[in-house]
């Protein structure tokens, strides 16, 4: 929680995918109130005709999207404020620009929200919504 679905075109190196994963998680920790070890991501690499996107619609500063376009759809376990979401978007784009070197116009982000009771992390146990930070985090 959250869990992120990351979609992009095939052809990137393992190092690129790792950098993308790292920056996404760092942005969640930095700006979306996510615990350090709460890291769950599903990456999907598409063939060119499986990832359909308009290169110009509402793109940043009118620059067209490129073949590096990535969609990041995040299912969160509780609502964040609009201000937190806005700061998260900025932080994520900033970190992705550093590593793996994604242009800002190539990043689309969507957040969906479920309730705490809609999650079981493990063991068939319903998430209680209070364990925001695990023992692992306390040790950091």
């Amino acid at each position: 929680m959250p869990i992120s679905r990351v979609s992009l075109l095939k052809g990137k190196s393992p190092a690129y995918l790792r950098a993308l994963s790292d920056s996404l998680h760092q942005a969640l920790v930095d700006a979306f109130e996510v615990p350090l070890y709460d890291r769950f991501q599903l990456i999907q690499q598409h063939e060119a005709n499986e990832l359909v996107f308009d290169r110009n619609y509402l793109s940043h500063q009118g620059k067209p999207r490129s073949d590096d376009f990535v969609v990041i759809q995040i299912t969160a376990g509780r609502e964040r404020s609009a201000a937190t979401k806005a700061a998260f978007y900025r932080r994520l784009v900033s970190l992705l620009a550093e590593s793996p070197g994604l242009w800002a116009e190539d990043v689309m982000i969507i957040i969906n929200t479920a309730a705490a009771e809609d999650w079981s992390f493990s063991g068939g146990v319903m998430y209680d919504g209070v364990a925001q930070y695990s023992k692992a985090d306390e040790m950091k």
Copy 2:
């Protein structure tokens, strides 16, 4: 916004996938209040044992689903009325019947809704919810 996840069995031609993509987008524009250039789709082609579906459950006019079965799950950026949704379902099935030639019983549709603030189209900028139609649309 919206973004659509399209799931079907592997084995269709590029032309078929393109026709499926085109009809989906046309139905969104015609009947779901989506701007012409607001086109974002993620297509996933499954192996036979990865796409599990009952051939008869609530199928149209009792006709069984075939191997052409497609699931279209749409994440929208704002709520539409029930009447709009119903008209969209009808329009989508009608267009898919024309091209690529899908039987009505083979189309399952699910809509999920997020808020405007849950979207960043590009550049780390939160969607303001008012840019329903881009300049590109004004020019059409």
Copy 3:
């Protein structure tokens, strides 16, 4: 309705995938008020670097997750009570332990909920929300 997205690492046998699918559906029928023939699942098999997960965060009884880790994200057509969800989580983990033999710590579950009007099962017809049990179910 519901429709489930199941994500796991590549490398499992067809029999394993079938057992996973069967146990998921059985748990939905047993404990989530899902009709017997209402079975729709999308299975995605990932390369190792496409399925990113922390092995210890909130894991069951502190046992680390293994390479058998599976994410089950369910989109339901109406809200269930917290008690029903909790019982479903327990039932699902119990059935998966029997077959295909998944450890409890390797099962993550997330539920998203849409409204009845957000579904069309087939034929472009909006789901009316009352057909909880089909004729096929009445015959069982």
